[in-house]
């Protein structure tokens, strides 16, 4: 048997051509990546890791071979006044996720909102690759899972449980804050009392230890869940003409508010105070007139 071992240069030429150009591309790519901001780098690493994990580990028989799920289009239906809407904005921005923001007029709900959240008809709604996810705490858990970079929950299961406890506490008690401007008389008194109790609980149980944020040195979902306390409460106090949060009575909470509002993503993404004041004042007038 004759085995042809001649080195055929002509057949190897296209191969060298491709390798050379691939090399140039790799060089250009690494130069571009080098110049990206840290959050964009993290987002890219997150995407590539997820693709690698999906290719190598994902054993679901029905899954597509390559799932670029974290690179699919992201839309957020929100409302500029809502702290729940902001939780999602903060999470997306902290993770460097590009998204399209859609402002919703809640007095005239859009077909998109009604189609995406037919059960509750509320914002925020995250739409990822055309699929809607509703409820801010559910959205945040989803974002954390799909885009693990700059994690917003502790990795330890016990610490996670405690974080979720405080998020639930915030969800349960925050409505008292908006009730302060929405009510008067006895109802308002109750709203004030409930809000103060909430602040007291956070002060005594939530922020124990010299922690910068609820979870330690880094901002997390828990801090975002208490966003209403950090920014909305002050405006609502002005609308209602009441002083509820006295700095000297809540020293830990006061420090936390300063730390929270200094985080660049938070600082740059808060609703305008004057605009809020004007709108909530109008709302209060309308609500009280209709009583």
């Amino acid at each position: 048997m004759n085995i042809n071992l001649d080195f055929n240069y002509k057949s190897i030429k296209p191969f060298i051509f491709i390798c050379f150009h691939f090399g140039i591309l790799a060089l250009v790519f690494s130069l571009i990546v080098h110049r990206l901001s840290q959050t964009r780098k993290d987002a890219l690493i997150g995407s590539l890791s997820l693709i690698t994990i999906r290719l190598t580990v994902d054993a679901r028989p029905t899954a597509t071979l390559i799932e670029f799920s974290n690179m699919e289009e992201v839309k957020l239906i929100g409302m500029w006044l809502s702290p729940y809407s902001y939780r999602v904005i903060w999470a997306l921005k902290l993770k460097g996720i590009a998204y399209e923001y859609i402002e919703e007029d809640l007095s005239n709900k859009s077909p998109l909102l009604l189609h995406s959240n037919p059960v509750q008809k509320k914002i925020p709604v995250l739409i990822h690759g055309g699929k809607p996810i509703c409820e801010s705490s559910v959205i945040l858990e989803y974002i954390e899972e799909i885009w693990p970079q700059n994690s917003l929950l502790p990795s330890d299961p016990y610490e996670r449980a405690i974080a979720r406890f405080w998020i639930k506490f915030a969800d349960d008690k925050s409505p008292s804050i908006s009730n302060i401007y929405r009510t008067s008389g006895e109802e308002q008194e109750k709203a004030v009392k409930d809000s103060l109790e909430m602040l007291k609980t956070i002060e005594e149980h939530g922020l124990v230890g010299e922690k910068k944020f609820f979870g330690g040195d880094k901002i997390s979902m828990v801090d975002m869940a208490f966003g209403a306390v950090a920014h909305w409460l002050g405006v609502i106090e002005d609308v209602a003409g009441l002083k509820i949060f006295e700095q000297h009575k809540f020293p830990r909470l006061n420090s936390w508010i300063q730390n929270f509002k200094e985080v660049p993503i938070i600082k740059e993404n808060l609703p305008d105070r004057d605009k809020m004041l004007a709108l909530l004042k109008r709302r209060r007038e309308m609500l009280l007139a209709s009583e």
């Binding site: 679901r60 799920s69 037919p118 059960v119 509750q120 990822h128 699929k131 996810i133 509703c134 409820e135 705490s137 559910v138 959205i139 858990e141 989803y142 899972e145 799909i146 299961p157 016990y158 996670r160 449980a161 405690i162 979720r164 406890f165 639930k168 506490f169 609980t201 149980h205």
Partner: protein, 224 residues
């Protein structure tokens, strides 16, 4: 393997949720019955914010709030999974669990309704909630979790046994085959699941308790 303890109350559906999850996962635990009229020092130490059961204590570390305990159990003991692995489906499961939480006040209003127009409205409102759950969350599936129960089934579990007593005490039936055929079928399937069947308290004892607790809460409501 760190010690697992559960502080619970025999009649509480929130307590039962945790028991079901621990049993499904095959986790050994010590059960501590709390006297809610005379709460133990330990309970107040473990749940200073809400002072309620259930509290799971794992290796000396306490976790309160039944739904949070369920997520913790799911993460710590991944065998016999109780949540979908697909992130989107997991989000849908959590959405329905949260829906149940949101509608808690509507259930409470029905439970504590005493009569007349107020009761009619409360019953109508809760029936709407049940219809949504049947249509949108359950659909044509055997369980909310598909072929086997998951955290959504566990979170709505009270509808399969606790709720019957509520209907009996009030004298209004909402969850029956003529109004909610699929949900009624789910009730039958759910209470037949071995772990559930063996953990549900005695019907008569629970009925008596339901009557007592309702009287107490209605009286409290009137005082306000």
């Amino acid at each position: 393997m760190a010690e697992v303890k559960l502080h619970g109350f025999w009649a509480s559906p929130f307590s039962h949720r945790v028991i079901w999850a621990l049993k499904i996962k095959g986790v050994d635990y010590e059960y501590i019955e709390e006297d809610l009229s005379n709460k133990s020092e330990l309970l107040l130490k473990y749940n200073p914010v809400y002072k309620k059961i259930p509290v799971l204590v794992h290796g000396g570390k306490p976790i309160p709030e039944s739904l949070i305990i369920l997520e913790y159990i799911e993460e710590t003991w991944p065998e016999n999974p109780l949540l979908p692995t697909n992130p989107y489906e997991k989000a849908m499961a959590r959405f329905w669990i949260q829906f149940g939480v949101d509608k808690g006040p509507i259930f409470r209003a029905f439970f504590l309704s005493t009569g007349g127009e107020e009761q009619e409205k409360a019953a109508k409102d809760f029936l709407e909630v049940l219809k949504t759950i049947e249509e949108q969350a359950l659909g044509d599936k055997k369980f909310f979790g598909g072929d086997t129960i998951n955290l959504v089934d566990i979170s709505y579990g009270y509808l399969a046994y606790w709720f019957k007593n509520v209907e009996e005490v009030i004298g209004i039936k909402l969850l029956e085959p003529s109004t909610l055929p699929r949900l009624s079928q789910w009730v039958q399937n759910f209470i037949e699941v071995p772990v559930i069947k063996e953990s549900i308290p005695d019907r008569d004892k629970l009925l008596a308790y339901t009557r007592r607790i309702r009287e107490k809460l209605v009286a409290e409501q009137l005082k306000k």
